[in-house]
Amino acid sequence: MSHPKPTPVGGKLLTPFFGVLLLFWALGTAAGTVRFLQGLGAASAMNDGYPWGIWIAVDVVVGTALGSGGFAVALLVYILNRGKFHPLVRPALLTSALGYTAGATAIVFDVGRYWNLWKVPLAYNGRYNWTSGLLEVALCVMAYTAVLWVEISPAFLERWKEQPGPLQGLARFALPLVEKAFPVVLAFGVVLPAMHQSTLGSLFLVSVTKLHKLWHTPFLPALFLVSCVGMGYAAVVVESVFSARAFRRPLETRMLSDLAGIMAGLTAVFLGLRLVDIVLRGRLGLAFALDFHALVFWLEVALAAVAAGMLWTSRGTRDAGALLRGAFAVMAAGGLYRVDVYLTAFDPGNGWRYFPSVGEILVTLGIVAVETMVYIYIVRKYPILAGAPAPAGGRA
């Protein structure tokens, strides 16, 4: 293989942008403190009708779908054996590991009785309730977050192995083990996300009377699974373009524009499945009901169609701008679909309403800020991004 080896980016950590991230971290911490001291009602707009807000719908459900880059790229490189995409593996795995860790953090903020969380993996009282989709999601997300950090661990171990110190011994011991276990770890890295990303859709199968009929379908798990793969590739594209700009690395436009066709195809499959399901089950009339939900439905369809169209035309053009716009459209289409299932198309009745509070938004932004700071720190210190080190440090 003649790929450029991943190398640390180096450079100064405390840039003005990093300062802005620190500010968001501080604001999120303040809102989080209110939540932990005074309860969820003091910091959030969640209520008995809308018990799940943006911490679940955005941080966990959209966040881990965008964190499916590791899953999506692993499928391409290790299953379909497309070795040319190898330089995308490490950045994709790092963003996924951070995305899943951020989602897990949001869960700690969200659940009311977080001190009982340890009882879930340990089957408190020996009672795993296997009819609960959420149990499967919880166990799979915990396991997959660990898998992702093992998948990305060679980047750290390689670095530690070169430096004398206490970590050198660990790296010398662990690196061969990780390499030996890699196929098994990778296989888990395919199965676990396929399971829990589909189950994130299955969670709303039980809400027969509360979820709008344009969204409630037995195909919820399939739709969530198909769209998370496309969103994962889109996140990889966005991350690559931004990293290349910020850290002055060569941009792999040829490789990325090959992803455009794949994303266009996945988005088309998603859209086809969604529309055929609605037509076959005789619910198309609801889409022409001239109400709020019909409008949101068409917005979703239009976004997905535009995303597929933009990416299909940008494939092979090596136009980084067009590719980036297409990737954002895929993320927006998949994100909107998820938020609609979890919030917009969910109606508990009795006049309940929900719109996220300032506190909820600050916690979400704070978690994203920390995720970004850790990403910047790691790519500066460890071999993640491919290409030669920048001559005078990056701008990020």
Partner: protein
Amino acid sequence: MKLSRRELLTGLAAAGAAAAVPSPAEARDRKVAEAGSVGMLYDSTLCIGCRACVVKCKEANQLPQDRATLNGAPYDAPPDLNGTTKNVIKLAAAGGRSAFMKSQCMHCVDPACVSVCMIGALAKNASTGIVTYDKDGCVGCRYCQVACPFNVPKFNWDKAAPQIVKCELCRHRGEPKKPGVRQIADPACCEVCPRGAVVYGKRSDLLQEAQRRLKTQPDRYEAKVYGDQDAGGTQVLYLTAKGVPFRALGLPDVGDEAAPALSESISHGIYYGMVAPVALFGAALLTIRKNRKQADEEGA
């Protein structure tokens, strides 16, 4: 056994498809109420809206008052079920008529909250059918609130150590020295109701009594016992006055099938015997190994 790459990829795709596409063959049997199921019968035509049951429920469950100030005077007046209220009486209006409505946990025969609860903090007692809550197994994820078609489970939004709050049929008041079914549970609301508008008993007896009332006074009632079949059957049954539909009382049209019947059938179809995930894992592992070997050979 030697597999070609094409065979591997086909197997992988099939396993992936099996993991995401529902298989209707696994449709679950309808759950029926246990013979020993206990519950309540609420007859809206008998209720006078005195709210004695609301006050007694709070006392029996040691729940704080829900204070509201009306015309400058304080009242213990919960507007609905909430984090301090497990039972409430509301006024329902239908056309020119009005009727009283009592809300609390329906104690479903096939409860959605129990189906979705991760480690069984909400559980259905195998003999009495009472849907119970154990805070020690609850992480406060609130999936029960998302799942319940009746919006019954409530959450302590204003507490740093919140719990799920819902009626447990006063199972803590059941005592061996009490007569009959009151050994199992003894709902405070039924004990204090001055009109017998809400009565406690075996579900089968209550259903029989409700049907007797419908038969003897067909002009008084809408010809249906809500909860007999609704949402897969509930252990709290309702009768309503003729001309006041159950919907007007706040009892939704949820159909006769329990919500978990659909969701569990689909999930069990996908995960039947864990075949699909295990097959996907096996196919993925074989493919990864094969690709890696091929890459090593090319590199050597």
